[in-house]
Symmetry: C2
């Protein structure tokens, strides 16, 4: 039996490796369009921040290891272009256009996502870059090294944009960011979003809100962005306005799509075609709070879904309960973490949602090094259940958010969460953890 995998990143290689471990006789073939597999894409900004580091530091396991040690037929530089579901074949092409077909008994579509490139005149000019693959990272690093980049403009203010702002800032590059909306981090309450934007602007990163990009043009000095706010000169442009699922190959094979045109999968990661699974950034998931399909492409889910595909393929029956959308990122010295629904999302989903935003401290009263922590907790008045949370602060947010994630998975009421016994010591927390203080305040509104 052949298990064919399209895409050799987190979901694809997790599935391939685990399937081979589960069933060593299985024929496992992976088609990967780039030359890289199994790398930490999320680590790229931190690698780019340090000129001396090479992108290959981010490779977790080399292609040769998958081949020789694990017996996976890993085919690099092969781009899958079509799935023939009737004859169970994937048609794929090489760099020089040569086409080939590979038969499958079971197929995993793990094609990931791609950066959205807006349709702006000049978006293909040299020096206008995006960041998704390791090759993108290499190109970006080479461009910085070779072009004396002193000023960069980032289009978009999502978490990759913000991580890259930190990376470029660390390299002494002046960074400006621009987006059409007036809201900085739209899922945060304004006072918490402001904390993060202040951190950036105080450290010299310029934020332009409400700016539409009309064109990018080459100048004698570098590049200029024509925007509704006026022209912005720079040496480099990073386009970071979001990602879209690479689901076209599935759609063209009549496989059902879900929200954001991601590939719809059930809890066992099966698509609408009985022989085809999908996993990773190209596929959707069920949200543990709403029970509905949602597309939130994140690394942990990709890895987890890859494993579940392998287990289901080799005889287990693994159902993934779903995701809470837990995420964290660093913007300079600020940690931004969230899980579950934002207040807007909760209201849109029809919950009788109410939130509380509190300011607490990262350490005990009078402990040196104390920092402010902002917490938003969101709950449903009708059921008193927690719906989501967000945290912002210089320390103590990244891991705390997981307590709320666990509570969301357990369907906890705010009352129950408030009674949980959290660890306290002066260097790490006030006696009442900021999350408990937020829960206590939120209870008064329920």
């Amino acid at each position: 039996m052949r298990f064919l995998v399209i895409g050799g990143d987190a979901a694809g290689m997790s599935a391939a490796s685990r399937a081979k471990r589960n069933l060593p006789d299985l024929d496992v073939t992976v088609l990967e369009q780039t030359g890289d597999v199994s790398y930490s894409a999320c680590g790229m900004p931190y690698n780019i921040a340090v000129p001396e580091r090479v992108m290959d530091d981010l490779v977790v396991r080399k292609a040769e290891v998958f081949r020789s040690k694990q017996g996976i037929d890993l085919r690099l530089g092969r781009k899958a272009v079509a799935i023939d579901v009737h004859s169970r074949k994937v048609i794929h092409v090489g760099k020089d256009g040569d086409s080939e077909e590979t038969y499958y008994d079971r197929l995993l579509v793990a094609t990931g996502a791609r950066p959205v490139i807006p349709d702006i005149p000049g978006v293909s000019l040299p020096g206008v870059l995006a960041l998704k693959s390791l090759d993108d990272g290499r190109a970006l690093k080479e461009y910085i090294a070779g072009n004396n980049v002193r000023k960069a403009i980032i289009i978009g203010m999502g978490y990759i944009g913000l991580e890259m702002a930190e990376a470029l800032h660390a390299r002494g590059i002046r960074v400006e960011m621009i987006k059409p909306s007036k809201r900085f981090i739209p899922y945060l309450p304004p006072e918490m979003s402001d904390v993060v934007s202040s951190e950036l602007t105080e450290k010299g990163i310029v934020l332009h809100f409400g700016g539409e990009i009309e064109a990018i043009e080459k100048t004698s000095e570098g590049l200029t962005l024509k925007t509704s706010l006026g022209p912005l000169d720079c040496n480099m442009v990073l386009v970071s306005v979001g990602v879209a699922p690479n689901s076209e190959i599935a759609r063209d094979a009549n496989i059902s799509l879900g929200p954001n045109s991601a590939i719809a999968v059930d809890k066992r990661l099966r698509t609408s075609n009985p022989n085809i699974f999908a996993a990773g950034d190209c596929a959707d998931a069920f949200h543990v709070v709403t029970g509905k399909r949602v597309w939130i492409p994140l690394a942990l889910r990709a890895n987890r879904a890859g494993w579940a595909v392998a287990d289901n393929l080799t005889g287990d029956n693994v159902e993934l309960p779903g995701i809470a959308g837990s995420a964290v990122f660093k913007a300079l010295d600020m940690q931004v973490a969230r899980t579950g629904l934002s207040l807007d999302e909760a209201l849109k989903e029809g919950f009788d949602a109410v939130d509380e935003v509190i300011k607490s401290r990262s350490r005990a009263h009078a402990h040196q090094g104390n920092q402010t922590i902002h917490v938003q907790l969101i709950a449903d008045r009708k059921t008193r259940k927690l719906l989501g949370a967000a945290m912002v602060g210089r320390e103590g947010c990244a891991h705390r958010i997981n307590s709320v994630a666990v509570a969301l998975h357990a369907g906890m009421k705010v009352d129950e969460f408030f009674q949980t016994d959290m660890a306290y010591a002066p260097p790490f927390s006030p006696v009442w953890d900021p999350l408990l203080t937020a829960a206590n305040q939120l209870l008064k509104k329920l």
Copy 2:
């Protein structure tokens, strides 16, 4: 109606303040034997570490504020010596031996705990100190300042002893620690306990295991400990072998005691006497994993219990579900965190307990500043439920442990915990959080 409180620390003052807020006309009287109320006792080691800081930095709210702003009749320097449950009076004495009686309608016993002072010849010598009250902290700090302390011996290796080892070490004092047992941190698996002891010994703190103290004697140079391992010279001895509940006043009033002779309370914090509550370090609690009474005196529970007493007194019906025993402390640069049952405790409680100890990383693959994190997860084979966890590492343990605490409160199975959606970003975690990796490994043993 008079609400009388014995003890003006965390539980007592939380109850007094909240009762007065709930019911402004209530007569709230507090008897406190020392001159201090409402201070962060846990902050003392960190205050002692810095010569310039004064102990009063740790006072959260001054006595005058409780009196003038909150209308609490706060009586300092009054030591309660007996409860007359028939005439509902508490007999208390002042510093000069003057005795007085105060009537109560409802009484809260919040007498806290005291350091256990072993019966060793010489234990009352000057320079042999213990740490519990703010006055103890002042005495210790004054002793260090006035006696050119170059070497201290700490008897005991509990968390207060370890925090004090760090504090004294930070002041350039040579620290040796001694205990009769051969095990360093008994609730940790040996490999995790060893990580912490190595941290201490590498930084110059000497640990003596299996050493019985026979006597403490004054020498011309300072003090000497006669021990079963030979004599140990020093300038100061800190006795830190544990604490005992101040429950005698309750016992003498025929109030029922629970484990470790702590005052037995129900989930509403009521003692066996219908007019008397108990809260804080003198009282017991129900353990959320076993459902049984347990005595684990910690600050969060004291505060929470104080509030619950006030609410129940003024008409609410608040039941505290219980504690998980979540705790964290810092030993030099090492974080040690735990929640729930240890493996030994779980086996003693009759669970079909099994544990897994894993080594993971605090940050993503190839991220700079990465540290090792050790995780122990414990579960019951029969129900597959989580029973407890412990973590050791230089970063990322203190807040992570709370995710397990929430899972214990929710009665989660390891399978469910493994599926929780935790936040990932390279500076904060591997893609698979160390807790998830531990859960995955533990599942293989169930």
